[in-house]
């Protein structure tokens, strides 16, 4: 499913008047692409993701999937949230099953249950399915949230800094599972992921979209990552292409787009 973003604008009313967040975003994402959005806080990358999800409406411009405009959430898209966002009063299993069942009313209960089981097994959460989110670690919660998103069977998967709060080893394992799910097990074709991590952006994406806050244009540069898959997290850092993209991102984010106030 191809994703078209055309002339998207968004402002928020704040204490200091109207604050522009997104200005004139144009982006085409091809079927089967993995795109990372990266940029400093306030560049509107999460807002853009929310607009694609249908959680927020743009002030101007349009999002379309295979030519059909997006105005509200739909089963063709699913989201993994930054704070896992599992409902704490339900078991892991109920969290995944209820979400998948309501997003996909076209399925029979049996179909839905077997799809839920499959994804919970894939992410290794099947043995923990009767636990509540508060009873498992953050990494396990996010695995359940990943299973929940895939269980909807979305064509487009949206991830908002999904692994930011996890330790490096857990993050690495989850990144690997995500890529494997996307390229193998699931029907999900297109992935869009907001991240703060340069290494994560390069390791996972086919293209990295570098964003900036107004008054700069929202999309500063789109960098292709020409590294063939499957990629190996351990050795990819020695790939010259990885180093080229990483250095370019570092230069853009640490120098050209570094916040004026300094760190």
């Amino acid at each position: 499913m191809s994703l078209e973003i055309r002339g998207v604008e968004k402002s928020f009313a704040g204490r200091n008047g109207v604050q522009p967040v997104l200005s004139g975003v144009d982006l085409s994402v091809e079927r089967g692409e993995f795109v990372s959005l990266i940029g400093h806080s306030g560049c509107g990358k999460s807002t853009l993701l929310n607009i694609i999800a249908g959680l927020q409406r743009p002030d101007a411009g349009e999002i379309s999937l295979d030519g059909v405009p997006v105005t509200e959430p739909g089963p063709d898209r699913a989201m993994v949230f930054q704070h896992y966002s599992l409902l704490p009063w339900m078991s892991i299993y109920d969290n995944v099953r209820e979400a998948a069942a309501s997003a996909r009313p076209d399925r029979t209960k049996g179909d839905n249950d077997s799809i839920v089981e499959r994804y919970l097994r894939v992410v290794g959460m099947w043995p923990h399915r009767s636990k509540r989110p508060g009873q498992v670690s953050g990494g396990m919660q996010q695995r359940a949230a990943v299973a929940r998103a895939f269980a909807v069977g979305p064509k487009v998967l949206l991830l908002d800094e999904p692994f930011g709060a996890l330790d490096a080893l857990t993050r690495g394992r989850l990144q690997q599972q995500l890529v494997e799910l996307w390229s193998g097990e699931s029907n999900t074709e297109t992935v869009m992921m907001v991240t703060h991590g340069l290494d994560e952006a390069v390791y996972l994406a086919d293209r990295v979209v570098v964003m900036a806050a107004p008054p700069l244009p929202s999309v500063i540069e789109v960098i292709d990552v020409d590294i063939k898959r499957p990629r190996d997290k351990a050795t990819i850092v020695h790939d010259p292409e990885y180093q080229r993209v990483y250095d370019r991102l570092g230069h853009l984010l640490m120098h050209e787009l570094a916040p004026a106030t300094g760190w």
Partner: protein, 295 residues
């Protein structure tokens, strides 16, 4: 795209999964042998010391002032009251045992409390979830809430022309505000995260209410009920005194009229113990709905 199982049942994953389990709080190892026992004994000892100090102070005041019941006289009265707690020899307060009186009070309390919950919880949902309702009712709530519920008693008495239902109505008014306000607060403060999940996964309105709104608000609702219960128990004693109703409050007034101050002191003890018990029950229930997750 190829379909192959990934990491399915692979032992390595299971290991990681096990390692990531956060166990419940481990039993605290006692720093020294019998440390916990010693701590409990210490708490009990301090509590007894506090009671002893209070009784001493009480005795001093009682010996200095006439009519103040002494601890000894109160203890004697307690024994008398507990000798025939279930006596029910007639319609007058003096004909009834202390447990019968407490029972009447509790029935009155629960009736008013149930009325308040039946009205306050749905109203709280409406106020918390529907912005125009909140704005329409907010001024009314703000003005009526600080009014002592006892002020409603004459109107209720005149309208219902009998004291028992008027007392129940007064209790219902008492319990209404905390129940409604806390319900509205819970319902109105569902985090954006939860609402986004419901939107992205297209929860129906019914499912949103059942799976998000109600479970999220239940903690606040129970807090409201607990506050209501506490205030209602206090106001009930006052209403029963005002209306000379057969109940623990009526017993206090009756004892005063019979110049039996030790009985008043004994009643205070009963009122306190029952109130403490009610609060404990509700706090137990509240704990069951604590998901120990930041809200």
């Amino acid at each position: 795209m190829s379909r192959r199982p990934i990491l399915d049942d692979a032992p390595a994953v299971v290991d990681v999964a096990q390692a990531e389990v956060t166990p419940g709080p481990a039993p605290v190892a006692s720093p020294r042998g019998g440390g916990r026992l010693r701590e409990t004994a210490g708490s009990v000892g301090l509590a007894l010391a506090g009671v002893a100090a209070l009784v001493l102070l009480w005795q001093i005041v009682a010996s200095a002032r006439p009519h103040v019941p002494s601890p000894g006289a109160t203890l004697t009265e307690l024994r008398t009251l507990l000798a025939s707690p279930l006596r029910n020899a007639g319609p007058n307060i003096g004909d009834k045992g202390i447990v019968v009186l407490l029972g009447s009070s509790l029935i009155r309390l629960f009736t008013g409390f149930a009325l308040a919950a039946a009205v306050g919880i749905p109203l709280g949902f409406a106020v918390g979830a529907i912005e125009p309702v909140r704005r329409a009712t907010n001024p009314i709530i703000q003005v009526l809430r600080p009014v002592s519920p006892l002020a409603w008693f004459p109107i209720a008495l005149a309208a219902l022309s009998m004291t028992p239902p008027a007392a129940v109505f007064t209790i219902a008014i008492t319990a209404l505000w905390p129940t409604m306000i806390n319900t509205a607060f819970g319902v109105g403060s569902v985090p954006q995260d939860h609402r986004d999940v419901a939107k992205v996964f297209r929860f129906s309105r019914a499912k949103y209410i059942r799976r998000v709104l109600v479970p999220y608000s239940i903690g606040s609702i129970i807090t409201g009920l607990r506050l209501s219960m506490g205030v209602a128990w206090m106001v009930l004693v006052a209403v029963e005194m005002l209306a000379a109703l057969p109940g623990i409050g009526g017993f206090v007034w009756d004892s005063y009229n019979n110049n039996n101050m030790p009985a008043v002191a004994a009643a205070i003890l009963f009122i306190g113990v029952v109130g403490f018990g009610l609060d404990m029950i509700l706090s137990r229930i509240a704990r069951r709905f604590d998901y120990s997750v930041a809200r």
